[in-house]
């Protein structure tokens, strides 16, 4: 395994249920390195989304630690977590989640809106050129001024991938990236995501319930019965 980028140690999560709380998972350990791709499989209600929100620093763990590029990020303030998400974590959502009134290019540039100026390099600077290059790379060069409404589902997901990669994050988290796509389009999108992650040395974690999607990843983990177990790959 390459140098660990993302590490979970002893993570636990629960949610309120009736008079008490219901445990989703306990003592979850996970390590993913740069350039590695991992899938987290599990049936509905197993806690995949909750695990992803923890990985994405969208909520703090009740127990355990999360380490990102060697730094403990388990108990960051809301503002620091947002900064870290912006700079080091890219998200690809199941339903693309593009902003409908922004153009394709402006959608890709959304993370730059919240990045420090030395990173963003200004709207007309380096980051804008990177956005245009990314659109070219995902096969949507020349569509920058279109609105998302005029794109197909697969095209929108490719825009979302470009957006996730804009600020060169160390980690890319994808939540059912092919869930809203047909089989053929989904396969193309997935290939693009995996190839980019491996080529650019990023750590890719995909949450899915689809075994076919998991089969493309370097490592597969299954979340169930309150635990996370890595499955052997042939």
């Amino acid at each position: 395994m390459s140098v660990p980028v993302l590490e979970l140690r002893g993570l636990s999560a629960s949610f309120p249920s009736g008079q008490g709380r219901r445990t989703l998972f306990t003592d979850v350990d996970l390590t993913v390195g740069g350039g590695e791709t991992a899938a987290i499989l599990g049936r509905s209600g197993s806690g995949k989304t909750t695990l992803l929100t923890l990985l994405g620093l969208m909520q703090r763990p009740e127990h355990g630690t999360i380490t990102l590029a060697g730094r403990d990020v388990s108990s960051l303030s809301d503002a620091d977590a947002a900064r870290l998400r912006n700079r080091h974590i890219g998200f690809v959502f199941q339903n693309y989640s593009l902003i409908p009134h922004l153009s394709v290019l402006d959608n890709v540039l959304v993370p730059a809106t919240y990045a420090p100026r030395d990173v963003a390099g200004g709207r007309r600077g380096r980051v804008r050129r990177r956005a245009e290059d990314l659109l070219d790379a995902v096969g949507l060069g020349g569509r920058g001024q279109d609105l998302p409404l005029r794109l197909s589902g697969g095209e929108q997901q490719r825009v979302a991938i470009a957006r996730a990669l804009l600020l060169e994050p160390a980690v890319v988290l994808a939540d059912e990236p092919t869930g809203a796509l047909d089989e053929q389009t989904g396969a193309r999108v997935l290939d693009m995501l995996v190839a980019t992650a491996r080529h650019e040395g990023r750590c890719l974690v995909v949450v899915t319930h689809d075994d076919a999607v998991a089969g493309v990843m370097d490592r597969v983990f299954r979340l169930g019965e309150g635990t996370l177990r890595e499955e052997d790959r042939p």
């Binding site: 989304t49 969208m58 909520q59 503002a79 998200f91 902003i99 009134h101 402006d106």
Partner: protein
């Protein structure tokens, strides 16, 4: 960030336009009141100051005195009032004659004459049509004419001839200035020093007024100082006391009352607008919750969302203010000249920058009040919802 705010407004065009219109009513009243105050001041107050004297004008009626005593009284009053303008006016009921030609002409005109000193515009808002409104020291002998007296075609530098006494030899005076005093009948101002050359002035027909200008709130103190100054010059004021003669105070009081009424209307309109903005804002946050939590997932901090929601309202406020000021300025410059009297002491209204500032403040406050809660709610959306269906 401005681009993001503008995109937010454009994304919901109809809603933005309707919100802007509701804000426009209140802002228009605020801008209108402020601008109208300036116009009213320029027109009505100008007219009053032209006719009766500028704000703080007081007059003390004096018994007949020599020109020297009169000038001394004016000078002492000027000093006792710390340099405030003061002059004597002697108006005669036996009018003098003047002609428009370079030599005496038996075809003469009667002109009401005010023997006085100093700069006429220190006491009245007289537009200066030509030359200077200052009588100076009276030498060389000059006169200032009003527009009616000069309508025969007189200009500064022209000579007029007038006997300084009934049946006396006409004396040549030079026109030094022409002012608009708002009177339809001819009038002229001549140096007080020359009045004494009238042989003799009829005390019964002579009225001597001491006119001075002080801030209205200092009128009572000034009255004491002026009475003492006049006595020190050897002129006994008797039981007479200075009285205020300008009407500026009354006009401004009436204006203040109307301003208060319209201001109350404006505040009510802006409050209603703020409530509407609040209602629309809360609905908008509910509709945009998905977009906002995705922005949080992509790195937006709570402060970013607060600024985004509040900022688009403030941007709308700026646009509304510009429109309101534009409408008021257009009305002032296009319509006002149609009903303003020709000539007179009023000025063409300038761009109402104070009105712009007031309007912007009112609009910004309304926008802030109406969007603060929606902006706060936007920051409380749980970012984890970005991953929930």
């Amino acid at each position: 960030m401005i681009g993001t705010l503008w995109a937010d407004l454009r994304a919901q065009r109809l809603r933005s336009v309707l919100t802007g219109l509701s804000m426009l009513v209140g802002v228009l009243v605020v801008v209108g009141i402020s601008a109208a105050s300036a116009v009213v001041d320029d027109v009505f107050v100008a007219s009053a100051e032209q006719k009766d004297g500028i704000a703080g004008s007081h007059v003390l009626t004096l018994p007949p005195a020599t020109a020297t005593q009169a000038l001394d009284a004016a000078e002492l009053t000027h000093r006792r009032l710390g340099g405030a303008p003061a002059r004597l006016e002697v108006s005669t009921t036996n009018p003098l004659m003047l002609s428009a030609h370079d030599a005496p002409d038996p075809d003469l005109r009667s002109v009401e004459t005010l023997w006085t000193s100093g700069n006429l515009t220190d006491f009245h808002r007289y537009p200066v049509l030509a030359g200077s409104p200052d009588l100076g020291t009276g030498l060389p002998a000059v006169v200032i004419l009003n527009a009616a007296a000069a309508e025969v075609g007189l200009q500064p530098g022209d000579s007029v001839w007038t006997p300084l006494a009934d049946g006396g030899t006409p004396t040549r005076l030079t026109v030094s200035g022409i002012v608009d005093d708002g009177h339809a009948s001819p009038r002229m101002w001549a140096p007080l020093a020359l009045w004494e050359l009238q042989q003799p002035p009829d005390p019964a027909s002579t009225q001597t007024l001491l006119r001075f200008v002080v801030p209205p709130e200092k009128g009572a103190d000034a009255a004491v100082a002026v009475t003492a100054a006049v006595a020190a010059a050897g002129v006994d004021p008797g039981a007479e006391q200075p009285v205020r003669v300008d009407r500026v105070g009354e006009l401004r009081e009436s204006l203040s009352f109307m301003q208060a009424v319209f201001s109350a209307v404006a505040v009510a309109a802006l409050l209603v607008s703020a409530l509407g903005l609040l209602n629309i804002g809360l609905a908008s946050i509910a509709e945009r919750s998905r977009e906002l939590v995705v922005r949080r997932a992509l790195g937006a901090r709570r402060s970013h969302l607060f600024i985004q929601v509040m900022g688009s309202s403030l941007l709308l406020a700026v646009i509304v203010t510009v429109v309101a000021v534009g409408l008021v300025v257009g009305l002032m410059h296009l319509a006002a000249p149609l009903w303003l009297p020709e000539g007179g002491a009023h000025r063409v209204p300038a761009v109402p920058w104070e009105a712009f500032g007031l309007g912007l403040s009112a609009a910004a406050l309304t926008a802030a009040l109406g969007s603060a809660l929606p902006a706060w709610k936007a920051t409380r959306l749980p970012v984890a919802d970005a991953l929930r269906r």
